[in-house]
């Protein structure tokens, strides 16, 4: 493969990852999410759980694809000369890239919190074990988890849009907006 084809492939994968993350989040948050209020709550919970399970797979795929395609893009465009030595911290290009990497790490941490901490709480079934107080407590835990998932998802969406802005400032300008 020539450098050109590597660039095209890397650019395509990078854009696809951004589309899955940003566009997918918007579709889930503003189209699929509100539509669940049009079906009975029990069915809405099943739909929400299944769609979130599927979307989380896509999200993790996109998060993994960002650094892979980004590195491929970086080296195929021969941009490494822009970041030799301390230029990573001193140039606008380097600072923008650093900012994108830090924000990507935040998205990974938030994704891990949703996947491994909050989602298992949502998947809990309210059983009769522990009596009425136990059921109430579990429902409270679930309600709290729903609130946190919603909040973190919206924060992630904001961060992802800001990363796109940083990327645009790097691609169409000198970096750092």
């Amino acid at each position: 493969m020539t450098a050109t084809w590597v660039q095209v492939l890397a650019g395509y994968l990078h854009l696809l990852a951004v589309a899955v993350y940003v566009g997918g989040s918007i579709a889930m948050e503003f189209v699929l999410g509100p539509a669940q209020s049009y079906v009975p709550p029990a069915q809405a919970q099943v739909i929400g759980q299944r769609s979130a399970d599927r979307f989380l797979v896509l999200v993790w795929g996109a998060l993994a694809l960002f650094p892979i395609s980004g590195l491929l893009l970086f080296f195929s465009l021969a941009d490494q000369q822009k970041l030799s030595g301390m230029q990573f911290f001193t140039t606008r290009y380097g600072q923008t890239l650093l900012g994108m990497i830090v924000l990507w790490a935040v998205l990974v941490v938030n994704g891990a919190v949703i996947t491994f901490v909050l989602r298992p709480r949502l998947a809990q079934r309210a059983s009769a074990q522990g009596g009425g107080a136990g059921v109430t407590q579990r429902l409270e835990v679930m309600q709290s988890a729903i609130k946190w998932v919603s909040l973190i998802t919206r924060i992630d969406l904001g961060i992802a849009v800001f990363i796109v802005l940083l990327g645009a400032s790097m691609a169409y300008g000198d970096g750092i907006l």
Binding site: V8, V18, G24, L32, I47, S51, V164, G167, S169
Partner: protein
């Protein structure tokens, strides 16, 4: 200005592409396990909202792309200013491809949103005879079937457009000039 246009262009495209991907990879598999009446209720609402998001994103793509053309710039995903501009023939082909894909996508969204979606949720009058009701049911099922096919065509065109435009820009990785 370049950064703002590039940012809005990329954002609009990823919202559109990501939305189409989420519908195909998340909603379509999930709806198989949902009772048809509830799928219908959700689809009706989602279709209306998604139509406006899709058309808005495609409109923003057109406006920002025209803005770039007016500035005499090439909309790039990533580029080095040192790389020479692509040959005029490549630019012409790239522009034609982009416009054709955009027109196809707008036509598909309009066909689904204005024609097929209302048909797929059409109700027949309570007093209608059985032949009329059967015909209406057939029309409804046909609209749903055609819409399922068009959604896949739409996604294929959107994915191809992304690849075609990246490839057509040659070594100058990015969107059409």
């Amino acid at each position: 200005m370049r950064v703002v246009l590039g940012f809005l262009f990329t954002l609009a495209w990823v919202v559109y592409l990501g939305g189409a991907l989420a519908m195909e990879l998340v909603w379509r598999p999930v709806q198989r396990d949902v009772p048809p009446s509830q799928t219908g209720a959700m689809c009706q609402w989602m279709g209306r909202r998604y139509r406006w998001i899709g058309l808005g994103a495609l409109g923003l793509v057109a406006v920002t792309w025209s803005g770039w053309r007016a500035l005499g710039s090439t909309v790039l995903v990533a580029s080095s200013p040192d790389i020479p501009a692509p040959p005029p023939a490549a630019v012409g082909w790239s522009v034609a491809t982009t416009v054709a894909c955009w027109g196809t996508l707008v036509a598909l969204v309009l066909a689904m949103g204005v024609l097929l979606h209302p048909r797929s949720h059409a109700r027949w009058r309570a007093g209608a005879d059985s032949a009329t009701a059967a015909a209406a049911r057939r029309r409804r099922l046909r609209a749903i079937r055609v819409m399922g096919v068009l959604l896949r065509v739409e996604l294929a065109v959107a994915l191809s457009a992304t690849a075609l435009v990246l490839v057509s820009a040659g070594p100058r990785l990015g969107w059409a000039a």
